[in-house]
Structures are given as C-alpha cells and as structure tokens.
C-alpha cells in the first residue's frame, strides 16, 4: 500500500465528520420518506432536510427578548460536541483521529453535554413549552443514563476495555462475540436508550407539534434561522452517530482497518448502507407504534437497565 493513497489521520477525520453531517440530514429525510411511503403518501424528497438547513442558514436570526447567553450557545455546543464525538468514534475506520481518547464514556458524555445544553436553552427562553419540553427531556435523560452506563459496562466486559476502537477491533477479530448473550443484551438496551435519547417513537414523536405530547420539538420551539439550522444539523448528526455506533457494535464488517483510499471508500459505503438499513427498519417499526404515555417511560427505561444488567452479568459469567 503506497503512501500516496493514504489520506492520513486528518483526512479520515474530515471524512467522518462530513459523512456524519451530510449523511445525518439525508438519514432524516430517508426516515421521513420511508414512513410516508408506508403510510401511502409520496412524502418529501430524501434531500429535503438538507435544503431546509440551507434555507434556514440564510434566514434572519430571531432570539427571545429575555434569553441569556445560553440560548445562542446551545446550538453551537451541540454541533461541536457531536463533531468531536464523530472524530472519536470508529465509524468508517477502526482508527479514528482521536482514537486515544475515544473512550465510550467520553463519547457518550460528550453527546449528553450537547443535549443538556439544548435542554437548558429550552428553559432559558422562559416560555411554557420550552420549560415543559426541557423538563421532560431531562427526565428521560436522567432515566436513560443509568441504563446507558451499565450498557457500556456490558459492552466493555468482553474486550476488557471501554476504548471504543479497541472494542470494534476485538469484535472484528472474533465475531462470535456478537452472538454472546452479553453483547446481545447490551445492544438491545442500547437500542432502547438510543430511541429515548434521540426522541423517536415510542418515546417521543418527532413529527408532532401537539402541545401536550411533544418533547424535543417543544424545547427548540423558539429557535429560528441559522440557530434552528444548527440544532437540526446537530440532532441529525447525533442520530446518525448513535446508529453508526449501534451498527458497528453489532455488524462491524466493512469498517476500514487502514486509512487507504480504497478501504475508506468501502468503509463509507458500507457504513451508509448499514445505517440506512437500520434507520429504515426503525421508521418502518415506528409506523406501527403509538407514543407511550410519559409515566410509562420509566418502565421502558428500567427495562433497558435490567437488560443491560443482564448483559453485564452474562458477560462476567460466560467469560
């Protein structure tokens, strides 16, 4: 393999961020399209979210009169944290630029930092909806967190490390780990947590603007123009990133183990295909789901917690 074809660490970083950024928005469009098709509608084009963001970027920025510095800061932090996380996560390659610090705990808490700031911004606006959305989102976050922590623990048991690239490499080296009970339980728990964190059905309905049920949409109701574009972009990137994490833990094949152009090209295509498949499946299932009542959510997330716990236990037992 020649050096000329090696795009280097920086190139990989740029590639991952771009793929997650654009891919995230396309993913959003794809999920809406799948849903629309199943419901018998034509639906907006897949690239619609991209166009929306571009349009929003050019619009005027309106901010609530009494909002403090948190309100403009939150979208920037959201996008920034997801970008750093994207640099850490082994999505296209098993050697992401920030591999050394790429601990699962760090990745997860970077993402949580972004969403917490958005929730704070929702409170910051002082409107009724913003406060309601934020308090609900924070409740869900608080409930999901223990489950998430234990899930990470369960994922780290088999490879003795919580370093994300190490886990993916170990999985590639020994694929039987994937059907080990520890991994399966952890992945199931992770799926529930991802759904809760990214506000999909049955936890939150991303398409609703009905006052009483919306969570995520309520928080960002006051954003407009470029701010809204950033929030949308950040949320889309986060969803793509989380799904990327999920697929690379369950089906790691195709992830590039070098930084050559060919391997990276394959890695990109395979990642996009896998994430698109999972996302389509998710939105297919979502059609048949109704939103859970808010007070039933603790049951769902406690269930995820027990699942993750089972994962840890079986990991320790079967080792």
């Amino acid at each position: 393999m020649s050096v000329a074809h090696d795009v280097g660490v920086t190139g990989v970083g740029v590639l991952q961020v771009v793929v997650i950024g654009i891919g995230g928005l396309v993913l959003l469009g794809l999920m809406r399209k799948v849903r629309a098709r199943i419901e018998g509608r034509v639906g907006a084009p897949v690239l619609q979210p991209l166009r929306d963001v571009r349009k929003l970027m050019r619009k005027e920025r309106l901010r609530p009169e009494f909002a403090s510095w948190i309100f403009p800061l939150a979208p920037v932090v959201l996008v920034a944290t997801v970008t750093v996380a994207a640099l850490m996560t082994p999505l296209i390659t098993t050697h992401p630029p920030l591999a050394g610090g790429s601990d699962l705990f760090v990745v997860v808490y970077l993402l949580l930092l972004g969403s917490t700031l958005v929730a704070l911004a929702g409170l910051d606006t002082g409107t009724a909806f913003g406060g309601m959305g934020s308090s609900r989102a924070l409740t869900i976050g608080a409930l999901a967190e223990p489950a998430l922590l234990v899930t990470i623990l369960a994922l780290s048991v088999s490879s003795h490390s919580s370093n994300f690239p190490v886990i993916v490499r170990a999985t590639l080296a020994d694929p039987a780990v994937i059907i080990s009970p520890a991994r399966l339980f952890a992945l199931a728990a992770l799926l529930i947590v991802i759904i809760a964190e990214s506000g999909r059905l049955p936890v939150d309905n991303p398409a609703t603007h009905l006052e009483l049920t919306m969570i995520k949409e309520a928080m960002i109701l006051e954003y407009s123009g470029p701010d809204l574009a950033l929030v949308t972009l950040g949320e889309a990137m986060r969803l793509a990133l989380l799904l990327g994490v999920l697929v690379n833990l369950s089906l790691p094949w195709g992830v590039a183990s070098s930084t050559s152009v060919g391997a990276l090209a394959i890695g990109t295509i395979v990642l996009c295909a896998k994430v698109a498949a999972v996302a389509s499946a998710l939105s297919f299932v979502e059609v048949f789901l109704a939103k859970l009542r808010l007070f039933r959510l603790p049951e769902l997330l406690a269930g995820a917690f027990v699942l993750a716990l089972l994962g840890v236990v079986s990991g320790v037992v079967t080792k």
Binding site: I179, A302, V317, T318
Partner: protein
C-alpha cells in the same frame, strides 16, 4: 458442536430465561405475560437440547422435547384459557409498581449470584457457571408471586419459580433421573390444571380473578 457456539447458545438460552422472567414484571397485559412464559419454556427446552446434543445424552434430548411441549405449549395454553374470558385482563395495580419491580429484579439477579457461589464453585464447567441465571429466574418468580395480585400472574410466578429450578437442574446435573423428571413434569402440569380450575371457580363465584377478593380468612 463447536465449543464457543455451545457456550453462546447456552448463555443465550439462560439469558432469555431470565429476560422473559423480567418481562413478566415489565408488562401489564396478562396475555403478554403468558407469552413471556411460553418464550421461557422454549428457551428452557433450548438449553436442555443444547446440553443433550453437546453431551450426547439421548435422555436429555427427549426431556428437551417434553419441556418444549409442556412448558412451551401446553401450560401457557392452559393459562390463556383463564384470561380469555376475563374482561380486565391486565395487571393494573401490583403491590410494587413496575419500575421499582424492575430495579428489584436487578437486585435479585445479583442476589442470585451471591446465593449460588457455593454451587458454582463445585461445578466449574461452562454450564455450571450459568447456574445463577436459574436462581435469578426463580427469585424473580418469587417476587412476582409476592407482589402481583391477579390469579393468573400468581400462577405465572409459580411457574417462573419452577422453570428457574428446572434450569438449575439442567445446568448443574444435566437433569435429574428420568423418572423424577417425568414425575415432576406431570406434577407441574397437574398443578397448572388445578390452579386453572380454581381460577375458573373464582371467576364464577367472585366475578373476578383479582386475589384481593379473597380476604375472608385471617386471624
């Protein structure tokens, strides 16, 4: 059978046994609870079959078939009959609410570990290490028995206890002698039948299968 595949399938079976026990605490719908019980029966049969294939134990393979039939099909079908006529077939108001029950299940899983230390020390092979799962399913069954107030969920709790113990038996000793196994299965089947008859009588007499209706006898 490949060693690692054996380990994984076995671990998966045991995991599903515990998971379906957890699901019975998780779900409100009695039908869903019974379905979880059926899944548990199938997982139990899978464990027995895996052990039988791995150890070339023809008797255990036969037992696996019996378990599949009895615990995966017949027993759940028997209980479903009770629910079908029941209008409010939901566990609406357990003594301990669902999130707390699930956390309790987590604690019980760890407790199962502590309790089975001496047993796992004796059987150091791969199936032996999974014994805590059986114990966990059993303890969760006890918890369901103590906190659920519908006749059907109590029957399910009892069967969870039984399945958990059966799992321990499979893992620890590759099954008890056949005559005992047959006797135990027959007893279990009969108990289910008896409980079903009682639940039916209860519904006829009290109009509900809610056990809170039974509070006549006390000191």
């Amino acid at each position: 059978m490949n060693h690692q595949v054996f380990d994984n399938v076995l671990g998966l079976g045991c995991g599903v046994v515990v998971l379906s026990a957890v699901v019975t605490l998780w779900r409100h719908s009695l039908i869903a609870i019974i379905r979880a019980l059926a899944v548990q029966g199938v997982a139990l049969a899978l464990v027995a079959l895996t052990l039988g294939l791995h150890g070339h134990d023809r008797g255990l393979e036969v037992v696996a078939g019996l378990v599949l039939l009895a615990k995966g099909v017949v027993v759940p079908a028997l209980i479903t009959k009770v629910v079908r006529h029941d209008v409010a077939s939901r566990e609406t108001d357990p003594l301990v609410n669902v999130p707390a029950s699930l956390v309790a299940a987590g604690v019980l899983i760890f407790l199962a570990f502590a309790a089975s230390r001496s047993v796992t020390a004796l059987t150091s092979n791969a199936p032996g290490r999974l014994i805590p799962f059986g114990m966990a399913a059993m303890l969760i069954g006890f918890f369901a028995l103590a906190t659920r107030r519908k006749a059907v969920s109590q029957i399910v709790g009892l069967l969870l206890v039984d399945n958990g113990i059966a799992l321990v038996a499979f893992l620890a000793t590759a099954g008890v002698p056949l005559i005992v196994e047959l006797g135990a299965s027959l007893d279990l089947l009969l108990i289910t039948v008896v409980l079903r008859v009682l639940a039916t009588q209860m519904r006829r007499r009290l109009g509900t299968v809610d056990l809170d209706g039974l509070a006549e006898l006390h000191d």
